[in-house]
């Protein structure tokens, strides 16, 4: 039996504490111990980006992050994007812009897009392409995703203005 270690962090703003197997990935801990199946396990090699989450505001790959290294840190996932049943502007833009087909890449894409908009609310097309460059989508051809991120940014800057 693998040694179990207690790990405490906040998940989408909520305090969480769980025993995880030492050496287990954050992806595994989130999905199997915390019931958050929004990060997807695509490749487990860092290549597809489907498992992308944010730790202390930085986009990381949960398949290559050990859960224990998140002790005391702030983890956010696509499951935390909507608030009180209201979709995040990025989710709304993905839905309206047909930026998802099978949806497997979508949670990772949303987190990569969120990391971009948190830092740069008014990105260029090139910035968006760069921001999602670690995320693979087999369905959409990327263009609808790029347009959705740009339109979410525009909608937001409109609200802020």
């Amino acid at each position: 039996m693998a040694k179990k270690v207690p790990v405490q962090f906040t998940l989408n703003g909520e305090e969480r504490a769980e025993f995880v197997e030492s050496g287990a990935t954050l992806l595994k801990a989130l999905r199997e111990r915390h019931g958050d199946t929004s990060p997807k396990g695509g490749c487990h090699q860092g290549t597809c980006g489907a498992c992308s989450v944010m730790v202390d505001g930085d986009l990381v790959l949960s398949c290559l992050t050990l859960a224990e290294t998140c002790e005391g840190r702030d983890v956010s996932t696509a499951a935390g994007l909507s608030q009180d049943g209201v979709m995040h502007p990025l989710q709304r833009a993905f839905l309206d812009g047909f930026a998802a087909q099978c949806g497997f890449c979508t949670p990772g894409m949303l987190m990569a897009a969120k990391a971009l908009l948190d830092e740069n609310p008014n990105p260029s097309r090139e910035d968006v392409v760069e921001a999602i460059s670690g995320n693979i989508c087999r369905c959409t051809g990327y263009e609808p995703i790029i347009q959705a991120v740009l339109s979410a940014a525009r909608a937001n800057s409109h609200v802020a203005a």
């Binding site: 030492s22 050496g23 487990h44 860092g46 986009l59 790959l61 290559l64 050990l66 990569a112 670690g134």
Partner: protein
């Protein structure tokens, strides 16, 4: 045996745990955790040191010191490291850059190790528990290295002296076909006073292009001036064949990209 992680507040304690065997040091984990996910059974324990100094960037009197745990993203956004930011930005996509460390990049096998190609051109020194190695020495012996790298140090080049190119097929973040880093110092008369050129994917680890360096000194960065260096750039290389490119292809395109970089 199941895997486990051991974190230590100091490098010394981590070194002891590492020496105890069946353990691998973990920087950002992008390569070691991937190896574990792929079923690498050569180690049972991930070891890491959380010492704050490993995360520090300092720039003083033109010398930059980067702690081994400093990430590519931190380098890319540091205002005093803007001259070399292009090399840090060449590593992976945004999530990889948030995790990938300087220390780990030194060990990354080709086609990885883009930032280390820059460190080689920059004539960096590699610091490990009290010892200081020239980067060439370090790279030559890295397969047998069983210590912990604590930092790298180099002179920051003048803004226009550092040139870097990563060639990849998938833009913007594909794996390297090859990478080239160069520190070119031009004398007052416009000729090249000194040149250090390093190549990635042209061997199993970053290597110097010494014949091209020699051919550049005393010349100008013009089509005629660089002709001998372009002809010599592939000398001594043993390019890699992998899923991205064959050795033949790498050998063919190296002079093309080197020429562009010198004339840029």
């Amino acid at each position: 045996m199941p895997l486990s992680l051991q974190s230590f507040p100091t490098v010394g304690e981590a070194q002891s745990a590492l020496s105890a065997g069946a353990a691998r040091y973990m920087g950002g984990g992008t390569l070691v955790v991937r190896a574990a996910n792929e079923g690498d059974l050569s180690f049972e324990t991930f070891v890491r040191a959380t010492d704050r100094s490993l995360r520090e960037i300092s720039v003083a009197d033109g010398t930059a010191t980067l702690g081994a745990s400093v990430t590519m993203a931190e380098i890319a956004r540091h205002p005093e490291l803007s001259t070399i930011a292009s090399a840090a930005r060449a590593v992976g996509g945004p999530a990889v850059r948030n995790m990938a460390t300087v220390g780990g990049n030194l060990f990354a096998p080709a086609p990885y190790g883009d930032f280390s190609v820059a460190l080689l051109a920059l004539d960096a020194t590699v610091h490990t528990g009290g010892r200081e190695l020239l980067i060439e020495e370090f790279l030559a012996g890295r397969d047998a290295f069983d210590g912990i790298v604590t930092s790298v140090r180099f002179q920051l080049p003048a803004a226009d002296a550092f040139r870097f190119a990563k060639v990849s097929r998938v833009k913007p973040k594909g794996i390297s076909v090859l990478s080239i880093a160069a520190v070119i110092e031009e004398a007052a008369d416009g000729t090249v006073g000194a040149a250090r050129i390093a190549l990635g994917c042209m061997g199993d680890r970053p290597m110097r292009a010494t014949a091209a360096e020699k051919a550049l000194v005393g010349k100008t960065l013009t089509e005629d001036g660089i002709a001998d260096a372009v002809a010599a750039i592939g000398e001594g290389t043993a390019p890699l064949t992998d899923a991205v490119a064959s050795a033949w292809y790498r050998g063919e395109v190296l002079p093309v990209h080197f020429r562009r970089l010198m004339l840029a």
